[in-house]
């Protein structure tokens, strides 16, 4: 029987271990998409400049109901990973996501986002094309959506690059996922000028699902196991239940409660 993780005792969690696991390919973006929705059809491009393949988006059926699903993909083999910069989206990836979110709102479809990124790509082209603006507008757009959105972090939740797709009504995390302001290595090198102290950084940063649930940054922890089909089935049921409840709300109330969720920090 599938059940969401109710409590994890923090003493039982080794943050450095979670960081390590979060970077392994435990789940792949396409596996998750196909595990959660049927009849997935991928839509490409941001209609402004390009198509970023590190962001997969499209429509499918969640237990029969149409939903929009958007995932950050780290890639499968080495070439794929290189071309997707290990899941670091370009500005046009975030703009594709914005386009699909607005489309979802128009057709009253709930939105599922699947997040696994070390962060938005810090490249020259990315800067020139407004990486900051792309993330800023994704967050702002998410705050205005008239449809429910559930964000699921399934690997790394790296900073603003993750938040761009995780400004949602609910945020769920897999048991071995992380969500943080920056990587433990970056944290250690900024604060202590020593990237090698990353394990120590991981321990004090509070980046594990247990820490984040306690702070109400996230709402659910998804247990991991070898039987992925069972996990996906449990997630589907919960997604339907939560979307149904949120879609019963007047749209204004939905938006207000999403804003209130973040107003509390």
């Amino acid at each position: 029987m599938f059940e969401f993780v109710k409590t994890i005792f923090k003493k039982d969690v080794n943050p450095a271990e979670v960081v390590k696991k979060s970077r392994e390919d435990r789940f792949l973006a396409r596996e998750l998409i196909n595990g959660l929705v049927s009849d997935f059809i991928e839509f490409h491009g941001d209609r402004l400049s390009a198509d970023d393949t590190s962001v997969i988006g499209g429509i499918g059926r969640l237990k029969g109901r149409p939903v929009t699903i958007i995932a950050i993909d780290k890639g499968v083999d080495i070439h794929d990973k290189l071309s997707k910069r290990n899941g670091s989206p370009q500005p046009w990836g975030y703009r594709k996501a914005q386009r699909l979110m607005k489309q979802a709102a128009k057709f009253n479809r709930p939105i599922i986002t699947l997040i696994n990124t070390p962060g938005a790509f810090p490249g020259m082209e990315a800067e020139a094309q407004g990486q900051g603006e792309a993330i800023a507008q994704s967050i702002l757009e998410s705050m205005k959506l008239t449809v429910p959105m559930i964000a699921i972090i399934y690997g790394e939740g790296g900073s603003g690059g993750a938040l761009a797709l995780a400004t949602a009504d609910q945020v769920w995390m897999f048991e071995n996922a992380t969500y943080s302001i920056l990587s433990p290595e970056g944290f250690a090198s900024i604060l202590w000028k020593d990237a090698k102290r990353s394990e120590e950084a991981a321990a004090i940063m509070g980046i594990t699902p247990a820490d984040l649930l306690e702070k109400h940054v996230i709402d659910q922890i998804i247990p991991e196991g070898r039987h992925h089909a069972k996990i996906f089935e449990g997630m589907q049921e919960k997604l339907v239940e939560e979307f149904d409840a949120m879609q019963a709300l007047p749209k204004r109330e939905l938006i207000e409660s999403r804003r209130a969720r973040y107003r509390a920090f």
Binding site: A120, M124, G130, L191, F265
Partner: protein
Amino acid sequence: MDLFSSDNKVDNNKFKVTDEVRDRIPDGLFLACPYCGTQIYNKQLGDYRVCPNCNYGFRLQARERVALFATDFVEMNADLTIDQTDFPGYQGKLDRAKKQTDMNESVLTGTGKIDGQEVALGIMDSYFMMGSLGSQTGEKITRLFEHATAHRLPVVLFTASGGARMQEGINSLMQMAKISGAVAAHQEAGLLYLVVLTDPTTGGVTASFAMQGDVTLAEPHALVGFAGARVIESTIHEKLPKDFQRVETLLENGFVDKIVPRQELAGIIGQIVAMHQQEVADV
């Protein structure tokens, strides 16, 4: 005397600054412009603290900026305190920053008039922990927008930030979403949000409210970007061009409306605000 001899260059004979001479010049009398490198006699910077050669605006403290740009300023949330200080060494840093800047956080907020126009005004201070985005910073900016929405005021926000406040971890990240929620409500009320990008504006601030304005102005040569130059260089393994993250490049790329020298800013802000005074009719 041979007029063209190599010994007869002006800089060789007359103005060579020896260590001995340098020692006799008081500290701070001459400043190098961080952008063009010109040596400037301190008083030449004037009240606006602008490089006479390139118009770069030297970094100002928030209180200096209020004095330059606003009248009738009434500060809000000057004593707001949110306890976020479990991180080792953080409280000490905060206390020092407070003492240095005479502020309770990295942003100064309130209401006042710019060029006669009433606005809700926010000014970030890069001298306060590099203008980083802490929970109090986020709370003050959110309340500024909420106040502006309730009182139907435009928001003018001067950004200056190194990005997230590392010591606050995920709470710093959540501020980006929190402020964006308040910006969205202000936008829905049909009110003007004017951003002035000042040197430097980077990281999480660029990736949220600095890039959500209806109108985006910038001071000349201000550094504005998302990722740090060093991070980008280590990703692409080459040196970045000189003006890569300067607002002149952002203007060219379409992310800034207008670059305005500091001496002219108040006038331009006043004009823009005045042109947005008409109530937006409900559709």
